[in-house]
Symmetry: C3
Subunit: 267 residues, 3 copies
């Protein structure tokens, strides 16, 4: 009845581009509920974009547009990725849509966006969010079948996800920072389930190597379990592992950045 | 028919957390109108949060969620505060919900959020906004009675408001800065009515002691009543007294901060 | 059925003022679809505000409120500008509403907002957005005729647009920067059509004089047509000419600012 369409981008503070996309959606499907998921993504940062798209696993099923698109107007394809839960991801073929389905049962189908019937014309060569992706989401939300948009693609034909899941090697986890949040916490390519497999439990002391520094912190349940200003590692609110500072910023304290590698082990 | 649910937080620029909460609300009550009231609250700043919640007095009645919640996942309670106008405030028991009812006829009832039937499971220990508070607002907006959520609390059992109203002492007002806005103006714990009681009127010259500095400025109606770059004091747009600089920033000019005390008197 | 009402302002990150306006709109017209077009406008910047209002030409017809209003509460008028496409612009008479109709067939009618019947009372002298402009948009969206709001004004009685269109003089274009975007690109007072008239085409090399510097760059279709870090000039996504740096910021690289003048010619 009222399908959810989420919009995400690196357009920064609420900007005309976001409003334009929302207007285009209502023009095609006035019954849609448009949610602005995140527009504060760092410019051109496909790692963060991919991570943020994963978080839709924690809300009802929907149609999710992601516009972090440095290759707009070049040969890069536009794609629709359908996840097994029933969500659709719409955006550029640059990897930003390829990790969210890991939280939604996997990828069911990928289709190239080619059918100009579903474009808003004339298509700006630099704003496919408004003329290609948001319209595709709006048409999908009205029940247009994914097959109508273009030819099916095999996953190998698409740009790879910007990160793989962390691996256990000789008792150590090699992980990567895939997102920084507003509070200066960082999120890792380790899922809650994987953490359980690795045998880490509440109360463990964790040793960490990051940019040549050695850090030590407890694995806890929530921020308030350590003193103000102290580091902690915990399950985040979106299915992954987070490193934070209670009432402070891990990023400021350590200089950690999206893309940094980490080595983690139990003390 | 279309109840208004407002969401406020210190999550910063539009972020996935905000979108997640909005999605959860629509999943429970698709007829709700979700309004993002303010998400630029300074991190962990309960003073500013409490002040911002007051501003709902200037819009239609609704269900108001506030997620400034440094104690999330600890023993701090979640509460619903019903105001006499008919608004409901939902969030952590840290004081941030306790001042808004002053603008809405007072507190009618306070209830602890305990009934897990109204939670979204599993509850993340670090994101009660999504799993406890937003769902409570959505259920309340569908007509579920406040009593269903948990046991009634007396106001004395809850954390106190982070500020009291300013007082007149020996002809001087002792006030406190309770919010800074985007333009660098500051807002005080003095209501419009109280200002009238204090006998301050348009055209008065005001003397002010702030952080050891002595300031002087006119009480005027609007910014343009003083020259560019000059300080002024006026009724703000939300029921309190504001100190500003015309076309400039009072915060930048004076270093004033939320939590600072002021002494004010007529010249 | 579900009229689109857009809200724009210089209120910065999502703030209570924006939420308040949205609430007021729903109180008057619950069927409206409120879109937050842009709230990151630089404080008091009428040039940027006017430019941003133009971008509604790329979404469906609507009722567009602009609150960049340094003169609020003074003698400045509030106005409604109706464009020939059928859009209504509502805000202060300071020029910010006068350029958008250039993209919408021109101005059809201008009316002063005088009829207090459509105000929300009491009117704050410093927040006409909530008490005058948003309510006017909501009432217009319900079908109230523009004539009911006040007396008709001739364009000459209103404050002029903050910029004219660029002119060709002796084979050179004298242009002005009218907006900086989040990525550090700048937008000029040159429309796509005018660029075509000037005979500039894809592949041309452009010489530019800006703040005493001489710049050279190609006219291309999209960012990826030049190497990372290189300057380019192109048609933007909103009907005007943009100068950018691929994967970088033109503003950072050159110090360019809204209001700066440029001289442009073909090499």
């Amino acid at each position: 009845m009222n399908p959810i369409i989420t919009l995400s981008s690196d357009f920064g503070k609420q900007s005309q581009g976001i409003g334009n996309m929302e207007g285009i959606v209502y023009g095609i499907n006035p019954d849609a509920k448009v949610i602005h998921l995140i527009h504060g993504l760092p410019a051109f940062d496909i790692l963060s974009a991919a991570r943020s798209m994963e978080t839709v696993a924690f809300m009802p099923k929907g149609f999710h547009v992601c516009v972090v698109d440095p290759g707009v107007g070049t040969e890069r394809k536009g794609i629709i990725v359908k996840a097994k839960r029933g969500d659709y991801f719409i955006g550029p073929d640059n990897g930003c849509l390829m990790t969210a389905p890991r939280f939604l049962g996997g990828i069911e189908k990928i289709v190239a966006i080619e059918n100009e019937k579903f474009f808003v014309k004339p298509v700006s060569p630099i704003f496919h969010g408004r003329h290609v992706f948001a319209p595709a989401a709006a048409h999908l939300s009205k029940g247009i079948a994914i097959e109508k948009f273009g030819k099916e693609l095999r996953q190998e034909e698409c740009v790879k996800a910007p990160y793989e899941e962390a691996k256990l090697l000789n008792g150590k986890i090699e992980a990567e920072i895939i997102h920084e949040n507003h509070f200066g916490s960082v999120h890792l390519n380790i899922t809650h389930d994987e953490r359980d497999n690795l045998g880490l439990t509440i109360g463990n002391t964790i040793l960490m190597g990051l940019n040549g520094k050695k850090l030590e912190m407890p694995f806890v349940k929530t921020f308030g379990n350590v003193k103000e200003g102290k580091m902690l590692i915990l399950k985040d609110g979106y299915g992954r592992i987070e490193i934070a500072v209670n009432m402070g910023s891990f990023v400021e304290k350590t200089g950690a950045k999206t893309g940094n590698k980490l080595i983690i082990e139990k003390a």
